[in-house]
């Protein structure tokens, strides 16, 4: 009964500006700093929430381009489709294995997995997350491509793909929210872009 009243109330209180999508000033950021060429707000020690909210309450698909430096003892994490406090989303944590190899660890709702891939000091990847599927479909490519389809398994076209039979992925559910952020020292961040249209389209 409460929900019926809410629906009827919503329709009766929708204003003209709601129907025209007019500006309310929500996107007026003022003069703020940029991190990787994107506006940010600091929410913790080396933890930053970034400008850009996923559409449809997070029940959608987006891609994110990440360019950062990763030295021997450095760590860089990107948090995607999170709640406002950057919890509950997909975390991809990058650490260096050796001069030419980087490890990316993927964590979502208690499921963890990792992949090692070739990279110099400057890491440049693009991550698709299709959070509008029953279990979020996550794919990562080197930004230089080529960008293979969802059948890719190894480093022929993509670096990581949750959509394989016989893996631990497949019952991990969705990421919780629509925000994104990074955990890293500022000096290592080169360029960040997102949320963009997905690289791979179902």
């Amino acid at each position: 009964m409460k929900k019926i009243l809410l629906i009827l109330t919503l329709f009766s209180f929708v204003s003209c500006s709601d129907l025209t999508g007019e500006s309310t000033g929500a996107n007026n950021l003022g003069l703020g700093g940029l991190l990787g060429n994107i506006s940010f707000v600091e929410v913790g020690s080396n933890l930053y929430r970034l400008e850009g909210t996923a559409t449809n309450g997070g029940d959608t698909a987006h891609s994110y381009n990440l360019d950062f430096k990763l030295g021997d003892s450095d760590e860089f994490s990107v948090l995607l489709f999170t709640r406002e406090d950057l919890s509950g989303g997909l975390e991809v944590k990058f650490t260096r294995v050796d001069a030419n190899t980087v490890k990316a660890k993927f964590s979502l709702n208690g499921t963890e997995d990792f992949v090692n891939f070739e990279s110099s000091e400057n890491v440049s990847v693009v991550i698709d997350i299709h959070n509008d599927e029953n279990d979020a479909h996550i794919i990562m490519w080197d930004q230089t491509g080529p960008f293979g389809d969802e059948e890719c398994m190894d480093d022929e076209t993509c670096l990581f793909n949750t959509d394989h039979f016989g893996t631990k992925w497949g019952s991990h559910g969705k990421a919780a929210g629509s925000f994104w952020g990074v955990k890293s020292i500022k000096e290592n961040i080169i360029k960040l872009e997102g949320p963009n249209e997905t690289v791979f389209n179902h």
Partner: protein
């Protein structure tokens, strides 16, 4: 695709001698679409796509039960994916004024969700339907019960409970939810004359997934038809839905959407229709200022339909869909669309 063809041939050949005596009916439906982008940001794929090929078998099983099997091959990013849509048995002869359905089926909630895509009065799903119920509809395995109340006013209540292991597009078998998918639909009908009437319903669907996220989708639907002889002279159809997802931290994500479709008979077998869609993300916030971002998506879709018979439909139309956010048009998609639908064999009876 090979699986679809082999299965079709096998099932047809096995049942060919049972055709007349068992009342087995077979229906094969083909649905083809072509979208031509008309602006630079259109997402039209500009390729004649075999959107769906569906086969349906239905027949009385015995004097109490009926059976239905439907399977479809769909185009998914250029690949043809074969899947079982419906496999259920049902009965309207066990409990008076009631129907029981057990198996896998499109959930009995909403107007479009219960109708096969090739039978829709328009080409594409309204945004609210594709966002809340996937591109064609939500189907699941479980039990559904409907009862027509013995009242002067037409009042039909459908309730269902299904596994809820999956909801929407899935590449896996999903996970056991904390609360399975459950739904109800309360329909009523007002007869305006011998040849016209309006049906309306309140619908609700809920589920709590294995992560503890609670999904609530209440909605309203309405359909009105005015007939002239066998033809539908005028028809309108609309649905309005609200979705709330509450996660384990207590934060809520809310969206609301609706569509209204009007269709007019121009001349014999030719119809003109126009659909208006609207959709809002009520909880979208700017991640830096923390303020709610005003947004709305509109769709305007005029279409023409020519039906050679109830077994063939050819449609053409325009679709203009745009999104505005905080005073800025963020997406604009204009396309010219065509659809070709044919049905071979029997055609199940339509609801009102």
């Amino acid at each position: 695709m090979k699986q679809f063809l082999i299965t079709s041939i096998l099932l047809t050949s096995l049942n060919i001698f049972a055709f007349d005596s068992s009342g087995l009916k077979i229906s094969l439906a083909g649905d083809m679409v072509y979208d031509q982008g008309l602006n630079s940001t259109s997402t039209a794929n500009e390729s004649l796509t075999m959107r769906g090929a569906e086969m349906m078998f239905f027949a009385p099983i015995d004097h109490r039960f009926d059976g239905v099997l439907s399977a479809a091959a769909h185009d998914e990013n250029g690949e043809t994916v074969f899947e079982l849509h419906e496999l259920y048995f049902s009965s309207s002869k066990i409990i008076d004024r009631s129907r029981l359905k057990v198996g896998q089926f499109f959930l009995g909630v909403g107007r479009l969700n219960q109708t096969h895509q090739h039978d829709w009065p328009f080409m594409k799903a309204p945004k609210v339907h594709s966002e809340f119920f996937d591109d064609e509809g939500i189907f699941d395995s479980g039990v559904e019960f409907s009862h027509l109340f013995n009242t002067d006013r037409f009042l039909d209540l459908t309730v269902g409970i299904t596994s809820g292991h999956k909801y929407g597009h899935a590449h896996s078998s999903g996970s056991k939810p904390k609360v399975p998918t459950h739904y109800l639909s309360l329909k009523s009908f007002t007869e305006l004359s011998n040849t016209s009437g309006i049906q309306y319903a309140f619908n609700y669907l809920g589920r709590t997934d294995d992560e503890g996220d609670k999904l609530h989708i209440p909605g309203l639907e309405i359909v009105g038809k005015w007939r002239e002889g066998r033809a539908i002279k005028y028809m309108f159809q609309g649905e309005a839905w609200y979705r709330n997802v509450e996660d384990i931290s207590g934060s809520n994500s809310e969206q609301v959407g609706a569509y209204l479709y009007n269709q007019f008979l121009l001349q014999a077998n030719t119809y003109a229709g126009i659909r208006l869609d609207g959709y809002k993300d009520l909880s979208k916030k700017n991640s830096i200022t923390g303020k709610k971002q005003n947004n709305i998506t509109y769709g305007v879709t005029p279409e023409f339909t020519w039906s050679s018979s109830e077994f063939v439909k050819i449609r053409s139309g325009l679709a203009h869909i745009f999104t505005r956010e905080e005073g800025v048009t963020t997406t604009k998609d204009t396309s010219l669309n065509f659809q070709f639908v044919f049905i071979l064999g029997a055609h199940p009876a339509h609801e009102f």
